[in-house]
Symmetry: C2
Subunit: 505 residues, 2 copies
């Protein structure tokens, strides 16, 4: 996944090459015009966005370069995203949360300062960075960039680099001129003293994250003209690059999963193994519902719960009872601490970004519960069955989803996924009942009947999903819902038990 350390990586940059004025001038003029044209062409097509990661040694001229990009291109269609240290609110979420939220829409360009590389570089520049921690961050970054790259976000990663002497000289020069002294920050002075360590950190970081569709480019930074031209050229090449549609066997950083259910594999039968004989009498139901509901009500009002964010996911065939089960849960909760998200067709804004974006935006803060009524699993269920996603898209989604859920769990979110299972005859009966009931007839449409015809395609898709996304950190709970009373109690019991386990840790 990561490329081997390249001894020559910084060789050119540390030779501090420069560009004579008379060469730079015509080059720059042509470049500016080409950049503008390429930017407008991208805007008009709006088939993908461009994310430019600006990183490098302090005092290498990153800020000045970004200003220049804004000058050369049409700044109205560029969003400069400058991230400082995370705020208290941001620290409550997975570390990539704040970057996900700010993803530019297709057609637009984002320049990222203080990107997702900042924590990794800080870690690596310290003394004796922990290997585990380094690998955890690096792999989260690789997964993140691979997912974006495959999903319509083009990533250009620029590392600004120069020799120790040139860095020192540049800093001193800027500081001595009152017109430019504001550009110098305290950290710029530290680079020269720690040059070897920072250089090594940079080399390691670039090695660990120089993969697949998001490769690093080192920009020699000692000479302003060369730095500017090389930056402009890199951006122009990115803007002009054809849309990359990876072939099935080329998905760096992700395994494209072969559905096993269809192939007669030993797995892929989970829904055939559901015990639909489980039932509760009305009396048992009343007792058990009251019991688990009051336990849940007490749990979520406990002091310890204030630190726990919870995500509940509900999936299942139409008429499986998702809505009514969710209601039995929310009845135990305070309205101020949960938030139900019914998932339907994406809006313009959502379609203009990778499919996981809308879910990142709804993550709970500590003490809150987000309940997804249908979820990101739509990618491997309805989008697969209805052919709304291409085969390579839904095939790779299994691993993308696992990576996403792993990040949630690692950041401390409790993730519980429920599949409410019903048999085909029960669905038919419920559809008929709904049509009869004046109170429920709005819940049944022609589309439901059409979906029913694809029952077995949905079942196959669900079985594949269980095979490929039933992870130790976010397992599936498949619950028979032929008897709704059983399902409601069973779901409540699982939730209470899981919260109990987390709070007693």
């Amino acid at each position: 996944m990561a490329s081997p350390s390249d001894p020559a990586r910084f060789a050119e940059a540390e030779s501090d090459p420069s560009l004579p004025k008379e060469v730079a001038k015509p080059l720059t003029a042509a470049l500016r015009s080409d950049l503008l044209k390429a930017q407008y062409a991208r805007l008009a097509k709006a088939d993908r966005s461009l994310l430019i990661v600006v990183a490098g040694l302090d005092g290498a001229g990153k800020g000045a370069t970004v200003n220049l990009i804004n000058e050369w291109m049409d700044a109205r269609h560029i969003r400069t995203l400058a991230f400082g240290p995370p705020s208290e609110e941001e620290r409550q979420y997975p570390f990539l949360w704040r970057y996900w939220r700010e993803l530019p829409a297709k057609g637009r360009t984002g320049i990222v300062f203080g990107s997702w590389y900042a924590p990794l570089f800080e870690l690596l520049s310290g003394k004796n960075p922990k290997r585990d921690e380094v690998e955890r961050l690096a792999s989260a970054i690789r997964d993140f960039e691979s997912l974006l790259a495959r999903d319509g976000v083009q990533i250009l990663k620029l590392w600004y680099h120069l020799s120790r002497d040139a860095q020192k000289e540049r800093t001193a020069r800027l500081a001595s001129d009152p017109e430019t002294s504001w550009m110098v920050r305290p950290e710029d002075y530290l680079v020269a003293d720690n040059f070897k360590r920072m250089r090594k950190a940079a080399d390691t970081m670039l090695t660990l994250t120089d993969g697949g569709l998001a490769r690093w480019q080192v920009i020699p930074s000692a000479d302003e003209r060369l730095r500017s031209v090389r930056t402009g050229q890199a951006i122009l090449a990115a803007l002009r690059a054809p849309v990359h549609r990876p072939s099935p066997d080329e998905h760096p950083g992700v395994t494209e999963c072969q559905p096993r259910a269809a192939s007669g594999h030993a797995g892929g039968r989970r829904l055939t193994r559901v015990d639909h004989s489980l039932r509760l009498s009305e009396n048992e139901y009343d007792d058990q519902l009251a019991h688990w509901r009051s336990r849940l009500a007490r749990q979520v009002r406990s002091k310890a719960f204030r630190k726990l964010p919870v995500v509940l996911v509900f999936e299942g065939h139409d008429a499986a009872g998702k809505g009514s089960t969710i209601r039995r849960i929310t009845h135990a909760l305070d309205a101020r601490q949960f938030h139900a998200v019914p998932i339907s067709a994406p809006t313009d804004d959502e379609r203009a970004r990778p499919y996981l974006w809308r879910f990142w935006r709804e993550l709970p803060s500590p003490g809150d519960i987000t309940i997804f009524d249908r979820s990101w699993y739509g990618r491997v269920l309805v989008e697969r069955v209805e052919k709304l996603a291409r085969p390579q898209e839904w095939r790779r989604a299994y691993e993308e989803i696992n990576q996403f859920e792993r990040q949630l769990v690692e950041s401390g979110i409790l993730v519980l996924k429920f599949w409410l299972a019903i048999s085909k005859d029960v669905q038919l009966q419920r559809f008929k009942d709904r049509e009869q009931s004046p109170f429920k007839s709005f819940k049944i449409t022609a589309e439901d009947w059409r979906n029913r015809e694809k029952w077995s395609a949905y079942t196959t898709a669900a079985n594949d999903m269980f095979d490929l996304t039933d992870t130790t950190f976010a397992p599936w709970h498949v619950i028979s819902s032929n008897d709704k009373r059983h399902a409601r109690v069973a779901v409540l019991e699982r939730i209470v038990t899981a919260i109990d386990m987390r709070l007693s840790r």
Copy 2:
């Protein structure tokens, strides 16, 4: 605007009426079914949203009631918005900012806790509230609600009230039962001691804000059954209410302005008075541009500027030079401190909310500059001319815009509005030049030629706009842009001067 104080306002609620169980039971059953049906009907139509403001005395059962609403209705389509004291970030913006951001989309229901009434009630409950401050908050609230009400947001305002003794008794009863003691908060105990003062504060607040399309309803709260039923009935009536389309002479809280330009009024000629003879030679331009640009560059990097949020608005006929003028400004800025927003057709999410919503979301924080390339003035320009807004919509927009800008200015934002004025022949020349230039031909489309045919309609609309939105707190700067050099320098000069004035205050 505000209704007179009503001596009988709290009479019913303070008599602590109750509902016998045998009456409540069938009523509740019917209500729940009706509420669900009405909720789904609203969702299906998606022609407006419902915002339920839950306010009232502490310890009156507001929290319990909201939980009940979530239980009775489909909680998946309700968003409970619970606002505590504003965070540090939120305090940097106009006080309504955080409420604007969370407005539900059409079709959906939002329940607001800790609403925009919290600061006003706190102020009024204190000793000797300042009259000015009270009126300022009350009038901002009235304006806000009127605007929402006219723009597809239905507002239901519920005040939960009961007698002093009943409040005290309820608090003691809940506290004594371990099952419910979590519902009691410290502030609940303070109500009985300060009942008279709080009652008076409530009476004043309701009087000041009981206007037009957003009237208060007082819910007697001593008896849980009655409180629940009355709440449900109020919501049901709101959900069922026909869409209110105010007639031209019925716009509580806003003046619908009669355009004067068309009527031969003495105003409405601003664009005929522009001095298009102003020009700069190339040398003058270079000198002056460098002068003002470097002053701006220094200003925005000064320590004092870190506290100043700035909004720049650019409007003008097509080809007036907005884009190139904006570029001359951004060249002086650091990319991390400005943010350019080109305004085009709204997205789904934007169309589902009042038209000012998208602009509220882009307001700058202190030290930042938001540059709007076209703006909320689209409402009274393109939307008027192209008939995208109904006459009463754009006519009332003048005052809505003034109210909006007043809030920005009062919260400390510097608002500068520029109209780049060109004459019709200059536009023609620029269109032709653009068509000739291989580098600029992408900037000219059939739509531009179509818009040109409506030149005089746009001019009339612009003149009306100057008449009606050229306020002391946010005046228009009309700048001749027949000579682009003149325009760029003039705009920069105005910006620098305005910032100087603000920083030296």
